[in-house]
Amino acid sequence: MINTSKIRKDFPILDKKILNQKDLIYFDTAASAQKPELVISEMDNFYRQNYSNVSRGIHTLSVESTFAFEEARVKVQKFINASSEKEIIFTKSATESINLIAQTFAEKNINEGDEIVLTTMEHHSNLIPWFLVRDKYKCTIKFADIDKNGHIDKEHFASLLNDKTKIVAITHLSNVFGTETNSEILKLCNDRNIPVLLDGCQSAAHLDIDVQKLGCDFYVFSGHKLYGPSGIGILYGKEEILEQLPPYQGGGGMIADVTLDSATFTGLPAKYEAGTPPIVEAFGLGVAIDYVTEIGMNNINNHETELTKTALNEMMDLDFVEIYGTSSDKNSIISFNLENIHSHEVASFLDVEGVAIRAGHHCCQPLMKKLNVNSTSRMSFGIYNTADEIKVFINAIKKCRDFFKK
């Protein structure tokens, strides 16, 4: 097990008092994780000691920045076990990573009448990029059904795959249900040689990721959900596929040779990193990866699934709580509603108690429609959360129910 009280000391924001009185209980890690001291101070220090633009300079600071930046790439590579650092592209966010693949993959591979397979529980960031492709290339999107726990219906999924299926893009861990996509789903795609994009936004911080074992062709995530800074995302893509795809954005750094008539592009990863990249952000993400690796992804996973079980059990005992997905393989995320109380009221009420949760559609409007709700509340856990915090939370939702009952 992990030493939570030690870990909590690493996160300066946990000292915060909400409204000057309540201890902060941060149950919104799925939206964005808080940052450990180490990440904050190393970035701070980097700006004070080593900062300059990367790749193009010869002077000392440029060397230091370039090496730190490329070292971060290798850290990411190892973290998800990619086979080469060329397969790691720095973007600004997972959303951008998905857009990059959607556009470039479609340009090369998708024609009118082709099919893309998603699920009904995808985040808008894994829906709209494909909608834009659908509009442009007149292809079809098919949506795999899910059950009430957020598990993809394997038979239905299999029935959607055919020779016209050009790519499958699915979440690895649902940001509403907290359930993990079964490896059999990926197997079905692998068997048919259909490329798979896994949206790893929620899995990267909670599971031990091995992109080669997973059998995905693309894997995307955001640094800010992995205890790293804002402003950085990752696109992993298999080298042999990325090499074949056209460029996305054009600009400095991705050019081999330019005349006024034409340009040739450099190889991976630079080809997809036009312009000055998020330098210090990449460095900071590298530090965050060191931090979680030191704790151990399996330890983190154990801690968080334990917390999830505890919370789930307590909540299931409360008759005024409706929970979306109650399967025991939930990880870090619980979505719920309190009877007859809108999620906004719950969120505001809990905020005053110091508990930060999220309320709304969680960028999953189609799923909300399917669940037949307008919105839900969502609590989500990180390495710094404790069973004691869950007690405070349970108490607070009881108070909330009472407050709005009268």
Partner: protein, 145 residues
């Protein structure tokens, strides 16, 4: 219980939130609009009849949302019914200031007014959008041809 919450959820808010007035669609309307808070999915539909003297006759709303947005819509329809358009627009401005914490600068509304019940929103900046959803919908209905 916390004072801020008591301020936010005054009796009248909970009442209007649970039993909104003027809920539905005006049979006879010449102005309408849909409002929508993309951050949470809350929705409101507003319709009213603006007569030849620019008086807001019948006015109704429907939709789904939190207590604040529903109560605000309900209180708004009560307030605006029978009012001259120009005055309604001034109240729009005042109301926006009120919920944003600028109550000192109001021109028409005073603390006797039922809309003052929403003053508690000022302590919850992320709820301003809830409180003003109906009002923005009103504004777009006015602007719609």
């Amino acid at each position: 219980m916390n004072d801020l919450l008591k301020e936010l959820y005054q009796e009248i808010i909970l009442d209007h939130g649970q039993e909104p007035r003027n809920f539905g669609t005006c049979e006879n309307h010449n102005k309408s609009a849909d409002g929508h808070n993309p951050l949470c999915g809350d929705k409101v539909h507003l319709s009213f009849y603006l007569d030849e003297n620019d008086i807001i006759n019948d006015i109704k709303f429907s939709g789904e949302g939190c207590a604040i947005s529903i109560a605000s819509a309900s209180l708004m329809t009560e307030k605006l019914k029978g009012m001259k358009l120009s005055e309604a627009q001034s109240i729009f401005n005042d109301f926006t200031k009120l919920v944003k914490g600028d109550a000192d600068t109001l021109e028409i509304l005073n603390d006797e007014d039922s809309l003052y019940a929403l003053k508690g929103v000022e302590a919850f900046p992320m709820r301003v959008k809830c409180a003003t959803l109906a009002w923005h919908t009103f504004k777009s209905a006015v602007e719609n041809k």
